[in-house]
């Protein structure tokens, strides 16, 4: 038994050495051809049109918003947890200001100060002199209340525990730009998209343009005369029973 274990150990030690690697590589058939050729140098992209702002890094967001009502006690007021701030598509902040790269939300939800601080620290550490980043969301302003542990229901609305920013589907959260390409941006921003509490993706101006063109092409070349909007409003198949008023507004997409 001892001899077997020793031989296996020796075999494993040899297998991990450089000599074994050289022998393995020689036994493989090399099916490449060496030939003198010109080096294939890629043409460098042109960054003359890009304007880098003065403040390149992401600014720090306040945890608590400044008080809106200047009362004597200066206390913050609780709000209802309204889903209207997260429902539906984003009508305004769904385009890139600097026309380069960014993170877009695909669903609605809430973002807290924890998310923003983590992204700020990570992205500011990865930025170089030739890159910049900017927030496209507001600092947290919507109060969220929480009851203490073990407390029974009732006895009024509880106190505020933290603040959040509501986000709608299609909203752009961050923008990154400068002398940078999509591959480098993807490595930076994939963590941001993964840490969102809702679905998010990394976009560039080309992706948005292609999607718009595709949407317009589909709208012009659609052969189906029965559109969702028309059929829903006229109660085809009695479908109003199973649809919500938001489906009539947004054609079943949100």
């Amino acid at each position: 038994m001892m001899s077997v274990t020793m031989s296996t150990k020796v075999y494993l030690n040899f297998y991990n050495t450089n000599a074994a690697w050289v022998i393995k590589s020689l036994s493989k058939p090399h099916s490449y051809v060496q030939s003198a050729a010109y080096m294939k140098i890629k043409v460098a992209p042109n960054y003359d049109d890009i304007e880098i702002p003065e403040k390149k890094k992401l600014r720090m967001m306040d945890k608590v918003p400044p008080p809106v009502l200047h009362t004597a006690s200066n206390l913050a007021v609780q709000q209802r947890s309204e889903a209207k701030y997260c429902r539906g598509p984003e009508p305004i902040h769904n385009k890139l200001n600097y026309g380069q790269y960014g993170v877009q939300a695909l669903d609605g939800g809430y973002l807290s100060h924890k998310h923003m601080d983590a992204w700020r620290l990570y992205i500011n550490s990865k930025l170089t002199n030739v890159m910049f980043a900017e927030w496209r969301i507001e600092p947290p302003w919507k109060p969220v209340t929480k009851k203490g542990t073990g407390k029974r229901m009732g006895k009024g609305k509880s106190s505020i525990s933290h603040y959040v920013t509501p986000v709608k589907a299609g909203r752009i959260l961050l923008e990154v730009g400068g002398e940078i390409e999509y591959k480098q941006v993807y490595k930076m921003l994939r963590h941001v998209a993964a840490q969102c509490p809702f679905d998010a993706r990394i976009i560039s101006a080309e992706i948005l343009q292609k999607e718009e063109e595709q949407k317009n092409w589909i709208a012009t070349n659609n052969l189906n005369p029965f559109s969702f909007r028309y059929c829903a409003r006229n109660n085809f198949l009695g479908i109003k029973k199973d649809l919500s008023p938001y489906d009539l507004k947004w054609s079943g997409k949100y």
Partner: protein, 252 residues
């Protein structure tokens, strides 16, 4: 009751109104997960789906040049200065009007390629890897090399002569290089296939051909008849009698 119902069917609250079913000690539903749509909703969505006929893709079972030309219709060619430089080199190579041969290249080791290159160099030939099929196919149409297009499909190698050496010795050389398979070429202003090249290699030297033609021409000019006529009378008479006999035998 609610707890009992929860144990029986875990997703029951998704199909029921959540407002009437809230209670203590019940697991909060996962609102991020999309609800399963009802059959009526699914039927409605399928009926109102957008029907679009996409543009046709280029077919794959046509020849290489036509496939590339068809696929380039859907792509915009971006001008690449490196490609233009190589294109210029290819045009100069074709305008030189040098004779070259095309060989198919099977997978081969780098050391073997070096050996073959040295052997060919000793005989006065040169291996060329830089002229790719895409470049040649772009510059061939409209020239005398248009018929070589069927050979420019797979991995290829060109063999040219650096000193103007004779291409007749190449088929024998290429027998020692099994990875290079002769396809055809352009030799002395003529496009040749593989069979024609093998015939060309079996032809004798130019000097021997010239000497043969000179001999034939001298015969036509009357070299032999004059020697026969100016020979001795006896020999001439004997030759003439023999000639007469031959004609009679042939006519019989």
């Amino acid at each position: 009751m609610a707890a009992l119902v929860k144990r029986v069917s875990p997703g029951w609250h998704l199909y029921n109104n959540w407002n009437f079913t809230t209670a203590r000690f019940i697991q909060k539903g996962n609102f991020r997960r999309k609800k399963r749509t009802l059959t009526s909703q699914r039927v409605f969505l399928l009926a109102t789906e957008e029907i679009v006929i996409a543009p046709p893709k280029p077919p794959k079972d046509i020849s290489c040049t036509k496939y590339k030309a068809a696929s380039n219709m859907y792509k915009e060619e971006v001008p690449n200065p490196y490609f233009e430089f190589r294109n210029k080199l290819c045009k100069e190579f074709l305008e030189k009007d040098e004779s070259f041969l095309i060989c198919h290249r099977n997978p081969v080791t780098a050391s073997a390629v070096y050996d073959y290159r040295m052997k060919l160099k000793q005989k006065g030939f040169r291996l060329v890897f830089g002229m790719t099929n895409t470049l040649l196919r772009k510059n061939i149409p409209g020239t005398k090399f248009e018929a070589l297009a069927p050979y420019l499909v797979s991995h290829n190698v060109l063999i040219t002569s650096s000193n103007g050496s004779d291409f007749r010795s190449l088929p024998a050389l290429l027998r020692k290089m099994p990875e290079f398979i002769l396809l055809g070429g352009y030799v002395d202003g003529i496009l040749l296939s593989r069979d024609n090249l093998m015939k060309y290699s079996k032809l004798p030297d130019l000097d021997t051909c010239r000497s043969e033609t000179a001999g034939i021409l001298s015969l036509i000019a009357g070299g032999k008849t004059s020697s026969l006529i100016y020979s001795h009378a006896q020999t001439l008479g004997a030759n003439l009698k023999q000639y007469e006999k031959q004609i009679k035998e042939e006519s019989d």
